[in-house]
Amino acid sequence: MTEHTLAMDILQYTISGLTVGVIYAMVALGYNIIYNVTEIINFAQGEFVMLGGLFAAFFVGTFGMPIHFAFFSAVFTTACVGLIMERFVIRRARNTGVLSLIIITIAISIMLKGSAMLWWGKDPYSLPPFSSGGPIMIGGAALQPQALWIFGVSALVVLLLTLFFRRSVYGKAMLACADNPGAARMVGIPVRQMVLLSFILSAAIGAAAGVVITPISMMEYDRGAMLGLKGFGAAVLGGLGQFFGALVAGAILGLAESFCAGYLSSGYKDAVALVLLLLALFFKPEGIFGSGEAAKLKKF
């Protein structure tokens, strides 16, 4: 009997771990896109997720929008925030050096957080799930239909991004900017527009993650920093710039966290992801899936 419950527990933790892990992976994708083009780590990445969730809740709650419509509106609005951030702040500060850029993206994240608090207050907001219906029972573990939406949306995002960077001229142009911005300009790629595009894209993806997770875990103004950190953990663990790696690493982080919460201590579940981040940074900063060869090529 105990064995049965153990198996059920494990399955339940796996499901919830993967659900949240996928969200980390999407945050990581956002880091990757901006990093791919600019080699900037955008410390405000987590705030995009928070904004996505809260905007959607706002559109549903205040305007009575249907949830699917609210999803797109929230993604669009957050993308605009990303645009403004790049166009009016980052672009002016590109030449100020790494230290200043770090501080500037941190400052933006604080300001986004502060604005969200003023606008929406400190209470958590919720969203109706994307589709109705009770949880699906698998071997005694409950799977929320919303979790399926989360998997679906993130799978779609990864697929579209991969196609974009592998097939589209603009995607490749963005990679070219990351590889060698000078040479990119010399072949006629407008580097600035590519940078702008990267901020818009990563804000949109962050927002999408925020909207899909809110029906399960709610959303409040100060969730951004932790989501951002864990997403960064996934990005580093998976190898900065690697989309597939980010997905796997996000899942690993989510699982580690979920099992820690289940078996060790729920208070330390946030620390688990961070410890993994530190271990990754210390021992394998190129990530599990990062290619050492590509890094070397780049340096040369």
């Binding site: 001229v169 000078g182 407008p190 580097v191 590509a294 090529l297 040369f300």
Partner: protein, 243 residues
């Protein structure tokens, strides 16, 4: 086609170009030679928009282009094969070519055709089209850099030190490629430290010394000129040429 009129450029706090004037006529191959630090690369960077000149004018097909962004200059028809090749090392060979045709991205067919043309010209690139460009050998990277520049269908091709760091055999190959491009009627500005090879295939040449043009003339005439030998090799080594 290209006119550079008494351009002054500062590179940091170094006065790198002190009133350089030169021109390139359509269909011409013009060589720019000079010792290291003479300002050759600064001229290239100034023409291609990487550095803004302090004074002077640069005209391309009658239009002033000084101060324009590099991507705009590419669109106007100047393509650069940069010093040290500067290929996109982490992209595949094919993507590199595609990026070279970025300004024609809306004309998908043309880009495809041009790519085929490049592969026909350099079959080795076709073989390696799926490889990361950084894994190519130096000579192959140079071919890729040249092809990438040609992909934008430039009116003027600027080659900055194409022989740098390459084995003699490969250098010969690169120069025969340049010779071929010249015969096709392309307009070429060739920046080289390999003075003899450059002047041999050039219609005209300029010799640059400490940021100034000290000599100019027909390629063959310059080759014979003692000053060239001095400017390039130094007087002590001038004997090498005599030998």
């Amino acid at each position: 086609m290209l006119k550079v009129k008494s351009v002054h450029t500062y590179y940091g706090n170094i006065h790198a170009l002190k009133g350089v004037s030169l021109h390139v006529r359509p269909g011409e191959t013009v060589a720019l030679i000079g010792a290291n630090g003479a300002g050759k690369s600064t001229i290239v960077n100034t023409i291609c928009g990487q550095i803004k000149p302090l004074k002077g004018r640069i005209e391309f097909q009658g239009q002033p282009i000084e101060g324009l962004a590099p991507e705009e200059i590419v669109r106007r028809g100047i393509a650069l094969v940069p010093e040290g090749r500067q290929i996109f090392a982490t992209l595949t060979v094919e993507s590199n070519l595609e990026m070279g045709g970025f300004v024609h991205r809306n004309n998908h067919r043309q880009v495809r055709e041009d790519m085929t043309r490049m592969y026909d010209r350099f079959p080795i690139l076709r073989q390696r089209s799926r490889q990361l460009a950084g894994t190519l050998s130096g000579g192959e990277q140079q071919m890729l850099a040249i092809s990438r520049a040609l992909m934008s269908r430039p009116q003027l091709l600027v080659l900055d030190e194409p022989s740098m760091g390459l084995a003699p055999l490969i250098v010969r190959e690169i120069f025969s490629i340049i010779e071929e491009l010249r015969r096709e009627g392309r307009t070429i500005l060739l920046i080289e430290q390999n003075a003899r090879a450059a002047l041999q295939i050039a219609d005209r040449g300029y010799v640059l010394e400490t940021g100034k043009v000290v000599l100019q003339g027909e390629g063959n005439t310059l080759l014979e000129h003692r000053e060239v030998q001095r400017a390039y090799l130094g007087k002590g080594a001038g004997q090498i040429v005599d030998a």
